[in-house]
Every structure is written in structure tokens, then in C-alpha cells.
């Protein structure tokens, strides 16, 4: 990993030296951005996180873009999610961010508010077409000073199941959308039938999304409007304690999950179900090698409450220090709107936010299943939470790490809750 980093850093330094001149030229304000030059040979760096499946799709998309814009060459690199952000932080500090990046809503505020991202609003209807993008999705990329990222699509929290493994275990699939007791019974039945090789699921209290789901089922949010934690240390400890019975007897042991990391228990065929974002379907099919994966609604304690929401996950953004903002905007536009990209990616970057792309996507098979799922839970979808606070990425990771540690028995839920609050208060700067 360090080799790619240093090479990128070097090009970053060169790019920085060059952009110093460009910025002084462009920084005059008010001017209309120049139209895209189709003569000049341009090379853009692009980076994304994901697995091999996603990389193959990006390769196709880039080829299609380069055919359309023969003077632009895209250099792409990819890593897994945690190291992706570690690298971007270093580049952000050094001024060497790639020209265009796959971006995450979680980090939007941190980068956008610090002037690191290109204001795409300047290119709206002048390089970036926004007509086809759902207004509510487009505004997720908007901060006080402009629009700094455009969502590729959306997803919602869901329960995935592996019918092949379930058939082997001889257990009926979980029907979805019923009570937590039902889901727990289902998991216990699979674990019992699995004889220590297959389990019913993964600890359903481990991730911050699990907690958020339960809070929303009680009509509560994770954060206040002011961006402070909207729950108490005791509530968090209780949440983790609720999972204890499942951790002891039902869900896959955390020690087994540590061994197959970064593949999840479901992806590694250790469990018949797992809760995650609906756009994970493609990745799960790749990781597990399963022929079919089904998707149903998460259990709920309160069927009348609108506990789910359309989550904007993946976005595309450009660096404010790019030497070729017009070309970068053109590439973002292509990734967001083009029907070809829709066809290549299907629903693996979420159900496409842009109508033109959605039409091109021609959803079928697993992608259709995701779309059908999202349509089926329409009644449970409520307002999205406010844009993630700066530092949410770190908070999310801390929550998950502590959840895993509880699973290993190396920390008690009470101590973990204490640690989480200590950590969050530093991150949120209280």
C-alpha cells in the first residue's frame, strides 16, 4: 500500500506545483468556467473503494468514457474502504487529492467545508446535467457554499439471506418485516441446524446502523439537529446488552469473523442472513459465490414507525485542486447520468439517482430484486437523517470496533459505552 501511496504523493506534489498557477488564474471569481477543450491531451486520476467486481465494472465504464472523449485518459486505482479514507486524509493534508473520486456522504462535510472539493454547481447545465436527478437526492450533495458531490444512487437497510445455505440447513427463510422475536427464532433455528459451521446471522447490535434502526423504531434519531449525540450512555449500553443472549448462543462467533475479515460472515458463507445496505447485493454474490441471494425487510418493533430511509451512499466528487475542472466535471457527469454506466453498474452503486441512468440500467436479476425490495418497503421509508456530522466516519468505525470487541468478550457493554462516549466527545469537539 505504501508503494502506491508514495507514487501518488509524488504526482500529487507535481500536480500541486502546477495547480498553484492554475488556481491564481481561475480564482478571480464570477467567470463562467471555460468549455471543455477537446484538443488538449488530458489525464485525470480517479480512485474508488470496492472489490474486484466493482473494479471490473469501472474498467468498462472508463473505456466507454475514453471512447466518448478521446483526448481524456483516466488513471484509476482502488483499495478497500478503511484504507481508502486513510489515503485521502493524507492527500487532503498534502494537497494532492485525485482529480475525481468516488465519495461517501459520511465524509462530505469534512471535505466540502474545508474547500477540498470542486463546486460542481458551477458546471450545472454547463457540463453536468442535473435535470434527470431526483431533487431530494441531488440536494444531499449540497452544503452552504455549493454542491460538492452527486449521489450515484440510493439504498436502504435490509436483511440478506442465502437460500442455498438455508436449504442445506433445512430452515425456512425469514419472511421479513416482522418482529425481532421472529428474526431471533429464525437465527436460532439455523444455528442449531448448522452444527457449528453455519449460523443464523451476525450480532444485530454490532453496528451503528443497527442502533440507528432501533432508535428510529422508537421515533428517535442518532444525532440532534445540532449534531450532538441524541442518546445516553445507558441507552447505548442497554442496546449492546440486548444482543448478549444471541452472542452467547446464536450468532456467528466474532473470533470466526476476525479470521475472514474483510469478508463478512454472510459473504464468507458462515451465516444464512446479514443486515446491510441494499446495494451490497452484488458484492455479496461475488464474495459468497452463491447462486441466489434474497433480500427482505429488517425486523421491526414498531410496524407503524417509518424506521427506514433512502440512504445516499456512494457519490462522485472532484478535487478543488484539479488542473482540469471541466474534464473532471465531464467525467462526473458521465458516471452519474450516462445510460452506458447504468447498464454496466446496474444497482451495485445503489439504485441510480439519475433517470437517464436508471433507464440504461435496465434492471434485471439481482438488481431488479433490489429495486423491488425498495419499492416493497416504500411504506416504511421516512425522512433521511440530517447530513452526517464531520467526523461521523470515525464515530461509525469506533462503534463497530467496540461492537466487535464486545463480541470477543474483551470489553463489557458498560465499558464499551463509556469508551464510545469518551471517543465521540473528542471527535465531535465537545
Amino acid at each position: 500500500m505504501f508503494r502506491t501511496l508514495s507514487r501518488r504523493t509524488l504526482t500529487g506534489v507535481a500536480a500541486l506545483a502546477a495547480t498553484g498557477l492554475v488556481l491564481t488564474g481561475c480564482g478571480g471569481g464570477g467567470d463562467e468556467p471555460a468549455a471543455l477543450d477537446t484538443e488538449e491531451q488530458i489525464t485525470l486520476n480517479y480512485t474508488f473503494w470496492g472489490n474486484d467486481d466493482r473494479a471490473a465494472r469501472y474498467d468498462q465504464a472508463i473505456t466507454a468514457f475514453e471512447e466518448k472523449f478521446p483526448n481524456i485518459t483516466i488513471n484509476d486505482t482502488f483499495t478497500d474502504y478503511p484504507s481508502y479514507w486513510e489515503k485521502r486524509q493524507t492527500e487532503a493534508a498534502g494537497g494532492g487529492l485525485p482529480d475525481v473520486m468516488q465519495f461517501d456522504y459520511t465524509y462530505l462535510r469534512q471535505y466540502g467545508d474545508n474547500g477540498l472539493l470542486l463546486n460542481l454547481e458551477e458546471y450545472f447545465d454547463n457540463g453536468v446535467t442535473t435535470d434527470a436527478i431526483d431533487e431530494s437526492l441531488l440536494t444531499t450533495g449540497k452544503l452552504e457554499d455549493g454542491t460538492f458531490a452527486i449521489p450515484t444512487g440510493y439504498s436502504a437497510w435490509s436483511v440478506f439471506q442465502n437460500p442455498g445455505l438455508l436449504a442445506e440447513a433445512g430452515v425456512e427463510p425469514y419472511e421479513g418485516g416482522t418482529s425481532w422475536e421472529d428474526y431471533n427464532t429464525y437465527m436460532a433455528a439455523v444455528t442449531e441446524a448448522g452444527g457449528g459451521t453455519v449460523y443464523g446471522g451476525t450480532d444485530t447490535t454490532q453496528r451503528i446502523q443497527d442502533f440507528e434502526l432501533k432508535l428510529r423504531q422508537d421515533g428517535q434519531e442518532l444525532f440532534t439537529e445540532e449534531g450532538e449525540l441524541n442518546f445516553t450512555q445507558e441507552e447505548l449500553a442497554d442496546h449492546w446488552k440486548e444482543g448478549q443472549e444471541n452472542r452467547d448462543k446464536v450468532t456467528v462467533p466474532q473470533s470466526k469473523l476476525e479470521e475472514i475479515n474483510p469478508v463478512s460472515g454472510f459473504g464468507g458463507n458462515l451465516t444464512t442472513s446479514e443486515m446491510s445496505w441494499s446495494n451490497f447485493l452484488g458484492g455479496y454474490l461475488g464474495d459468497s459465490g452463491a447462486e441466489e441471494i434474497t433480500i427482505v425487510a429488517p425486523p421491526t418493533s414498531n410496524p407503524d414507525e417509518k424506521d427506514l430511509y433512502r440512504k445516499v451512499g456512494l457519490m462522485q466528487a472532484a478535487s478543488s485542486s484539479t488542473e482540469h475542472p471541466e474534464a473532471a466535471a465531464a467525467f462526473v457527469d458521465f458516471l452519474i447520468n450516462s445510460p452506458e454506466v447504468g447498464e454496466i453498474f446496474g444497482a451495485t452503486l445503489g439504485i441510480p439517482a439519475s433517470e437517464t441512468q436508471l433507464e440504461g440500467a435496465n434492471l434485471e436479476g439481482p438488481d431488479k430484486a433490489v429495486k423491488d425490495y425498495l419499492d416493497s418497503v416504500e411504506d416504511r421509508i421516512g425522512d433521511s437523517p440530517a447530513a452526517p456530522v464531520a467526523g461521523f466516519g470515525a464515530i461509525e468505525q469506533t462503534f463497530w470496533d467496540l461492537g466487535k470487541s464486545i463480541g470477543l468478550g474483551s470489553v463489557t457493554p458498560d465499558d464499551a459505552a463509556q469508551q464510545f462516549f469518551d471517543e465521540a466527545s473528542v471527535t465531535l469537539g465537545n
Binding site: P82, E86, Q89, L116, E258, G409, S410
Partner: protein, 327 residues
């Protein structure tokens, strides 16, 4: 004042080398013109290294010294907070757990590694066929040991039903996988470190070659058994080499990163058991964006290792014997 007596030989020497004595007397240090040219040339030849040192080592070090007293999140300008990072560190449980984990690794791992290196070096010191091959074979792990791929291979070896677990099961020992078990991951990390004993082994081997054979002969004449010879001849004669290896390996062990990062998936897992000092520092810096805190941690580590090295040097007076010592 001893100036006169100190200058006398200097003056004689410069007179012999043909420079003007008056010049050397005035400056107090004899520096003939030709030597000045050499000095400049020397610095010119040194400049690539010097530039690298100032630009890539000294500069960043000074910057991190400044950052250690600030709150710096990489995105906004550093904010001076004085000693706050240090007081936070004192109250940070995860910091102390990383200190404890690292100390266990250093204090248990280093002696075992050196003992293994010395034992193998002594075996290889026998004149027998094929020692050249064995020397290379034992050194090989150290060549590849720090690489990412080895850490990945070890991950696989120590997983549930992996080769290690499988072998132990044959003997009726059912520990399960080591990778996901917080209490077995440290023994595995130490094993990985010990396995890479090649570098100290080669140095020990060179040291063993330097022990005069007549000392062993004399000991044999006095009726010493092998163990006695080892304690009374090998160890004292080898003590400077032991000291050198101990110092170097201790400093290296404090800085273990790559293997811990890969095996613990970069998050100190499982359950924080691979949350080594450097891994925690890295997490603070690059995952949590707390560059100031991380810089403070880096300086605390530097000072702590410095103090330990100083203590080692002080104790060395009592147990390290240099050839030609009057003791």
C-alpha cells in the same frame, strides 16, 4: 591553561605538512588550505544525503514536535493546546493498553528472539558440511519477514482449521484459530518476530568466529564442561555483540507495525489485542484525524525508547566486556 602544551604537537605537525605555522597559531586549529577544499568537496558529496536528512527527516521531526502541542485534524490549521495531548494520553485507557501490549511484545519477544538467534548461530558455528546452506536457510525468513505477504500467510496458517490448528488438533490440543482469539494473538505475534532471527544470528555468528580458540582449549584443560564454557567463555567474550543485538532488537521491537497492522486488520483487532503502540498512533493519525495527538505519541515513544537505551548503556558497564579491557 594547557594551550601551549596542546599546541606544541599540532604546530610540529603542520610544519611537517608544509603549511604556515603562523596561520595555525592564530586560529588555534591547524587547517591547511588544501584541507578546506577537501571539506567542501566532502560536504558536496554528502549533500544528497544531507538534503534528504534535513528535508525528509529533520524537518518532519521538528514539525511533529510542534504538532505534538496542537490540536490538528489535517483539514484546518493546527491549534495550540499546550500540554493537553499529554494529559489526554495519561487518561486514555486505549493508550495504556497499547503501552502494555507493546511492552509485553518487547520484553518477552526480544530475549526469546536473541536466545534463538544465539542458539542457531552456535550450531552453525560448527564446521560441518552444508553449513552455508543452513545459514542461508535460517536467514531467509528475515529477508521476507517484514513483508506484507508473510503477515497474510501467517494469518491463513493460524486460522481455524489452518495448518497450525490442524497440527495441534492431531495432538489433542484444541485451541481453535489463533487469529480471532485475543489471548492467542500475542503469542503468535511473538512467534512471528522470533522466526525472523536472521539478522542477530549473522551478527552472533561473526562474534563467535572472533572468540579465540585458545580460550576454549584452556577451559578444556581446566576440565570445563560445554555449559561451563558457554557461561564463562562464550557469553563474556560475546557480550559486546549481545549488547549490540539487544539494543537494536529492542528498538526495532518497539516499532513493530506492518505485521501488527495486517494481522489485526489495521484496527487493532481482535478485541484490541494487536493495538500496538504504532498501530494506535497510526489509527489516531489517519483514521481519527488526530494528528496532534499522534505526534505527541510519537515523541513520547522516542523519549521512552531513548530512556530505555540510556538505562541499557548504564547497566552495560557491569556486564559487557570489551577486548583489551583492564577488567
Amino acid at each position: 591553561m594547557t594551550t601551549d602544551s596542546a599546541h606544541a604537537p599540532a604546530a610540529t605537525r603542520t610544519a611537517e605538512s608544509g603549511a604556515r605555522p603562523a596561520d595555525s597559531r592564530r586560529t588555534g586549529a591547524p587547517r591547511p588550505r588544501r584541507r578546506n577544499g577537501d571539506t567542501i568537496a566532502g560536504y558536496v558529496f554528502l549533500s544528497p544525503w544531507l538534503l534528504g536528512f534535513v528535508g525528509l527527516t529533520l524537518g518532519p521531526m521538528l514539525a511533529s514536535l510542534y504538532l505534538a502541542f496542537t490540536d490538528y485534524n489535517l483539514f484546518t490549521a493546527p491549534e495550540w493546546t499546550g500540554l493537553e495531548n499529554l494529559t489526554r494520553m495519561a487518561e486514555d485507557d486505549k493508550f495504556w493498553s497499547s503501552v502494555r501490549i507493546t511492552l509485553i511484545y518487547v520484553l518477552v519477544g526480544t530475549p526469546i528472539k536473541l536466545a534463538a538467534a544465539l542458539a542457531v548461530a552456535m550450531l552453525l558455528n560448527y564446521k560441518a558440511r552444508g553449513t552455508g546452506f543452513f545459514r542461508s536457510a535460517f536467514y531467509a525468513p528475515s529477508l521476507i519477514g517484514a513483508s506484507v505477504s508473510i503477515a497474510i500467510v501467517w494469518r491463513a496458517m493460524f486460522s481455524t482449521d489452518g495448518p497450525v490448528d490442524g497440527t495441534l488438533n492431531l495432538f489433542g490440543i484444541n485451541l481453535g484459530g489463533w487469529i480471532g482469539n485475543p489471548s492467542l494473538i500475542m503469542p503468535m505475534m511473538i512467534l512471528l518476530a522470533v522466526w525472523q532471527f536472521g539478522a542477530p544470528m549473522v551478527i552472533f555468528l561473526a562474534g563467535l568466529k572472533g572468540v579465540p580458540a585458545e580460550l576454549y582449549e584452556a577451559a578444556s584443560v581446566d576440565g570445563a564442561k560445554p555449559w561451563r564454557k558457554f557461561i564463562s567463555v562464550t557469553v563474556p567474550m560475546l557480550s559486546p555483540v549481545i549488547f549490540f543485538n539487544l539494543l537494536l532488537e529492542m528498538i526495532n521491537a518497539f516499532q513493530v507495525f506492518a505485521s501488527a497492522y495486517i494481522i489485526g486488520s489495521g484496527t487493532g483487532g481482535p478485541g484490541g489485542a494487536t493495538n500496538f503502540y504504532t498501530v494506535y498512533l497510526y489509527t489516531r493519525a489517519f483514521a481519527n484525524n488526530q494528528m496532534g495527538y499522534a505526534s505527541a505519541m510519537a515523541w513520547v515513544l522516542l523519549l521512552a525508547v531513548g530512556v530505555l537505551a540510556f538505562i541499557l548503556f548504564r547497566t552495560s558497564k557491569n556486564w559487557v566486556h570489551y577486548a583489551g579491557d583492564s577488567k
